[in-house]
């Protein structure tokens, strides 16, 4: 049984990798506007060369023809150095290769706080903030949502259940950034309870002052994130558990005289677990990227707002780097998920023959 599954897993792996490659390439093409950015870079080089030469005293002594020749020479040199002499199509594959081995290069405009222009550094600098906010948020919302969902299923059709269904619908209808705007209006400006955004209010010397300020700033986006998603978990868990509760083997378990605890644990939650675990993994992965718009609303310096900054400053290397990272993480998670799912649900193991 495991052998057939192993083959299936291998096929999956190849397919996922292919997806990764195509997604990365697509981003490269779009981010470079199919070569349009090249034109901009070229013009930039020409401009800078002209500027540079205009300040050079030796240059001014040359004749117009010589000046022109010198100018062209220098431009050619720079273009070659930047690799712009090759056609875009060719360069795009070089980028693709580099991206796949995670050689992310240097950013065009953006810099990390320490001044580094390496895309890797820039991304790494922002990653922890996204993780802090969104991974924490995802864990909290999943826990709250799932517990709520199980309770709703146990008390199905009661007033509690009905009220919670309405709450869940309202919750997951709107995205977190939407609640964020409203929350900022109410809690930050009207009530003055929380700061309207950013990481901290002022630079700190020590951890003891940094931490409370950070938490104070973390509170609102975290609340808003949990608020927006708990409904999703609750609703889906409720339906999943309800469906499982009505399975015949649950009645059989009760007929066997097993105590309710055991019935719930082994005969309801265990079978219902696989889809929920899938959802958790996918949600975690989505959380790593940080919601772009939510970070924009709160001015939270994570990967999402890095993405925003990269788009607005048309910094292609950063964009590509982010997308590649995301794609890798996603593909990895999907793959690991397949394996975990097969451990939880033996029915899946017979697939792939």
């Amino acid at each position: 049984m495991w052998k057939a599954y192993g083959k299936h897993l291998a096929k999956r792996g190849i397919f996922l990798f292919l997806t990764l490659v195509i997604a990365t390439y697509a981003t490269i093409v779009i981010a470079n506007l199919g070569g349009y950015v090249d034109g901009i870079l070229r013009k930039q080089i020409e401009f800078e060369v002209s500027q540079y030469l205009a300040r050079s005293p030796t240059f001014r002594e040359l004749s117009p023809e010589e000046q022109e020749a010198r100018r062209r020479e220098l431009i050619e040199e720079y273009i070659k150095a930047a690799g712009l002499d090759k056609p875009f199509l060719q360069r795009s594959f070089i980028y693709l290769w580099r991206a796949l081995i995670l050689n992310l290069g240097r950013a065009m405009h953006l810099r990390s706080a320490s001044g580094s222009s390496k895309v890797y550094d820039i991304i790494l600098e922002r990653l922890p903030w996204s993780m802090l906010l969104f991974t924490t948020g995802t864990i909290i919302e999943a826990v709250i949502g799932i517990l709520l969902g199980v309770n709703m299923a146990k008390k199905a059709l009661s007033k509690f259940d009905r009220a919670m269904i309405v709450a869940s619908i309202i919750s997951y209808t709107a995205p977190p950034w939407f609640y964020g705007i409203l929350a900022i209006l109410l809690f930050s400006f009207q009530l003055g309870l929380f700061p309207p955004g950013g990481l901290v209010s002022r630079p700190h010397e020590s951890w003891t002052t940094f931490l409370p300020d950070l938490l104070h700033h973390l509170a609102l986006p975290l609340m808003v994130w949990v608020l927006s998603f708990f409904g999703y978990w609750a609703y889906i868990t409720r339906n999943l558990v309800l469906e499982t509760l009505h399975q015949d083997y649950v009645m059989a378990a009760r007929a066997k005289g097993l105590p309710e605890r055991v019935v719930m644990r082994r005969y309801v939650l265990r079978p219902a677990a696989p889809p929920i675990v899938t959802m958790i993994a996918l949600a975690l992965i989505a959380s790593w990227m940080g919601a772009i718009i939510t970070e924009a609303v709160f001015g939270w310096p994570g990967l999402g707002s890095l993405y925003n900054d990269a788009v607005w400053s048309m910094d292609a290397p950063v964009l590509i780097g982010l997308t590649v990272m995301y794609a890798y993480l996603l593909v990895l998670t999907v793959f690991i998920l397949d394996i975990i799912y097969s451990i939880l649900d033996p029915r899946v193991r017979t697939v792939g023959a």
Partner: protein, 466 residues
């Protein structure tokens, strides 16, 4: 997943019986009434002026909706506009030492019964002269005090004199008045709140509106007998319309109304088209099986892995696009997705039904079977999926507009929200600018979410009777 046979009309009737179905229907009616109001209140030529600042000059800026009065219990000032025709004229000639001087006295009055000061006051004088003339203006309060606003000579080269409460002149006049009345200098100079406040409240230090009849009196002196002036006085209110105004003075109601059909058209089209196409793919995949199934499944997984939002932000930024192009891109991204998988899992059971087998045996082509037999069976289930996908699209369009990447011409709800945010509406407390468009977005999204939930309950009876 089981798929017993359901008739669409029966489903709709059942849905309207559920509580969520009723609420959803009510919300939808509200939205539709907004859409109907569009050609009446905000026809396209009016909407085109949304981006034209000139059109909104005479509106108060950042004004709250009129009904706010009821909430606060104060009478809030409306716009008071006195054009040239509102001024009474009295022209006469005066002879002085052999010179004939023309004098015109212009006078206009207005009642000011409000509990709050106007947000802005503007006086404009346009001189119609070949050389120059002299104008002096006096602002006469109900308590009789007259404040001289200016005493200037206007020449032909610069015939327009404009004085607004944001300017230096008004500030100086107000400051002088304050000093005169209270004997001290004011901490902050808000000309409206000084010139129209009762003296005793100024002395107290808490300006209160002096209600009553105000007047503006102008005296024009000129050597030229044919000279004349045109005058305009405008007091900008603090409330306007049903939805207030934004920082450019735009009537938000127009934006709100216009946003309704955009939101509906965009999200409904995206939802319908994507659900339809995904369903078709699901049927193809489930019915034809084999290679076709494999290909479609891989394609589906591929699309589900590619992140739509980042790429759309990228594309909208790089290629400035209109809302319809955006729609096309969204649809392209949604050609396959989770609906494909769901529909695919329904097909095997339907395939086994006897009327399908009968159709195959009398030689019906696969296409005929898929479209004439399987598709109608799957349809009621897609209703709930369709309805539930609408809110996503509503918020997607709102998000992109909010970020400034949406349609550059049309005022959509997201765009209004975005303008509000970047203009600091939250900070200044212009809550209507945020809450009204947000409320509309939420209402639309909720309407469809509830509708989808009601459909789900009807179509999955297990959810109802458990």
């Amino acid at each position: 997943m089981s798929a017993p046979s359901l008739r669409p009309e029966a489903v709709i009737k059942e849905v309207l019986k559920t509580k969520s179905g009723i609420v959803a229907a009510i919300l939808l009616l509200i939205i539709i009434s907004l859409v109907i109001a569009v050609p009446i209140y905000a026809p396209y030529d009016v909407v085109k002026t949304w981006n034209d600042p000139e059109a909104w000059l005479s509106n108060p800026k950042n004004a709250a909706p009129i009904w706010v009065e009821r909430l606060i219990g104060k009478r809030l000032p409306r716009n008071i506009f006195l054009g040239d025709e509102n001024f009474s004229r009295r022209g006469f000639n005066v002879t002085y030492r052999g010179f004939t001087i023309k004098k015109i006295i212009l006078r206009a009055r207005f009642e000011y019964p409000y509990d709050d000061f106007p947000s802005h006051v503007r006086v404009e004088v346009l001189a119609k002269t070949n050389s120059s003339l002299r104008v002096s203006a006096e602002f006469i309060r109900p308590d009789g005090a007259a404040v001289q606003l200016f005493d200037e000579t206007i020449s032909r080269e610069m015939p327009r004199l404009s004085m607004g409460t944001e300017g230096e002149r008004f500030h100086r006049v107000a400051e002088a008045f304050y000093l005169d009345v209270t004997g001290r200098r004011p901490e902050a100079v808000v000309p409206e709140a000084i010139l129209m406040a009762s003296k005793e409240s100024l002395i107290r230090g808490e300006p209160e509106v002096l209600k009553g009849r105000y007047a503006l009196r102008l005296e024009v002196t000129s050597f030229n007998l044919s000279d004349d002036v045109e005058v305009e006085l405008q007091l900008y209110g603090r409330v306007y319309g049903l939805a207030g105004t934004d920082s450019k003075g735009r009537d938000l109601l127009i934006g709100i109304l216009w946003g309704a059909p955009v939101a509906l058209a965009f999200s409904l089209t995206a939802a319908v088209v994507s659900t339809l196409i995904q369903t078709l793919f699901g049927i193809l995949s489930g019915y034809l099986g084999g290679r076709v199934d494999e290909v479609i499944q891989r394609f589906t997984e591929f699309m589900m892995i590619i992140p739509m939002l980042p790429i759309m932000i990228l594309v909208s930024f790089v290629y400035r696009i209109s809302i319809w192009t955006l729609l096309v891109i969204v649809i392209v991204f949604s050609l396959v997705g989770s609906t494909t998988k769901v529909v695919r899992s329904m097909v095997p059971q339907i395939k086994e039904e006897s009327y399908i087998l009968a159709a195959i045996s009398y030689g019906a082509s696969p296409w005929r079977i898929m479209f004439l037999h399987i598709f109608p069976r799957v349809l009621p289930y897609t209703f709930s999926i369709l309805a539930l996908s609408v809110p996503g699209y509503v918020f997607l369009e709102a998000a992109l507009s909010y970020l400034g990447l949406g349609d550059p011409v049309l005022p959509t709800w997201g765009r209004i929200l975005g303008d509000a945010y970047t203009s600091g509406a939250a900070y200044y407390g212009y809550w209507w600018w945020i809450l009204i468009p947000a409320g509309c977005i939420m209402m639309t999204a909720l309407a469809f979410a509830l509708l989808g939930y009601a459909f789900d309950k009807v179509v999955n009876p297990r959810l109802r009777e458990m």
